[in-house]
Subunit: 220 residues, 2 copies
């Protein structure tokens, strides 16, 4: 029997306003495993003190990373592509379908998230106009045109590209998709899937349980 | 005999100060093909007027995209991964080496370029402090630690991950890698490779030839 995969994430992240709970990127891997019926366990590294063991496996001190029978792979996008190699639920096996899935996974990472995450980061730290506002609107407008004509991004069906793109779009979604109705409907559609809901509920429960443990341990 | 691959790029981009010549991302695919000895042709779409045919193949109106025997794949990172499937020069075939190459390709796209390109974009358009300066320095510092201990990123040898990471690092390199000597040496080492030099020379010649053509055609 193959060993279950291990999804590594933080032991805890802060709750409250602006909390990353529900958005920590292990959700991408949980979601993919739930869609594909791949067995997995979740293990943790400390959020507060990121030591050499963590950096040895994730050189930027982030999560998630995926452990698969001796292989450790970091970057949620890379781990997702690794998982996609295990199940055609996540990525079709025909040349055309595989190429479409691959290109939309990278588009989510490098054409959309490359703008949305810096936009979000700047919004957190500065109060004036966001210099990435116009660029983000332009990228979302291009994507709106694509999603106005189809239900899912690649291969005429749900794939790992939708896991990544929908998760990426949850960040700009916080301020509403007023002029981009297809994007709003797409994120709703993706996040209504039972596999997403289970992944999100499990992540929320994971961090809520950590609150309980921390409350029982005296602060240093 | 297999058909040569087609790398699609712009017919022309502006020259002069701040010109993207030498940085248009078809260079990533040219470089990979040169490293792996994969035959390719270069074809063009108009830079000035990006029509429906262009957007049908690249929904963000960008370049490059790769055509491979009926398959068209956009996003330079996706096209690079597609090429990596054709040659173990670009990506080792063992599980460990393949996972390392994949993770560093995605790290270049989503941990480094996700900061460096918005940093560059903001620097072009605003004159004050760059709100991404600190974040970029932190990411480069993490990468410096990795490259201080090894010649290439993955699998103990040059791979497609180095093509992507070195090209990504050419952007922050413009202001110098003062406190990151390993990054500076890494980009020098990668860009000294004959395959990079040929790819860059060919791209420069491609756009220079386009200048000549434009000079012969009366402006509209």
């Amino acid at each position: 029997m193959p060993k279950p995969l291990i999804i590594w994430t933080y032991d805890w992240v802060p709750g409250g306003k602006g909390s990353p709970r529900g958005h920590v990127r292990d959700i991408r891997l949980r979601w993919a495993c739930e869609e594909a019926g791949i067995a997995y366990e979740v293990r943790t590294v400390p959020f507060d003190e990121r030591g050499p063991e963590h950096f040895a496996r994730q050189p930027f001190g982030q999560v998630p990373f995926l452990e698969d029978d001796g292989i450790v792979i970091f970057e949620s996008g890379a781990a997702l592509l690794h998982l996609a190699g295990k199940s055609d639920v996540l990525m079709p096996r025909d040349r055309q379908g595989a190429a479409e899935t691959l290109q939309w996974i990278v588009a989510a990472l490098n054409s959309i998230e490359m703008v949305t995450v810096p936009w979000w980061f700047i919004g957190l730290s500065t109060s004036g106009d966001n210099p990435l506002e116009g660029w983000m609107a332009m990228r979302l407008e291009h994507l709106e045109k694509v999603l106005a004509t189809r239900e899912w991004l690649a291969a005429g069906r749900f794939t790992a590209a939708d896991i990544l793109m929908a998760d990426v779009l949850r960040i700009p979604k916080v301020r509403g998709f007023g002029t981009f109705p297809a994007l709003g409907a797409y994120v709703e559609r993706a996040c209504a899937r039972p596999a997403f809901r289970k992944a999100k509920d499990d992540q929320m429960a994971h961090f809520a349980a950590a609150d309980t443990c921390r409350a029982e341990v005296p602060m240093k």
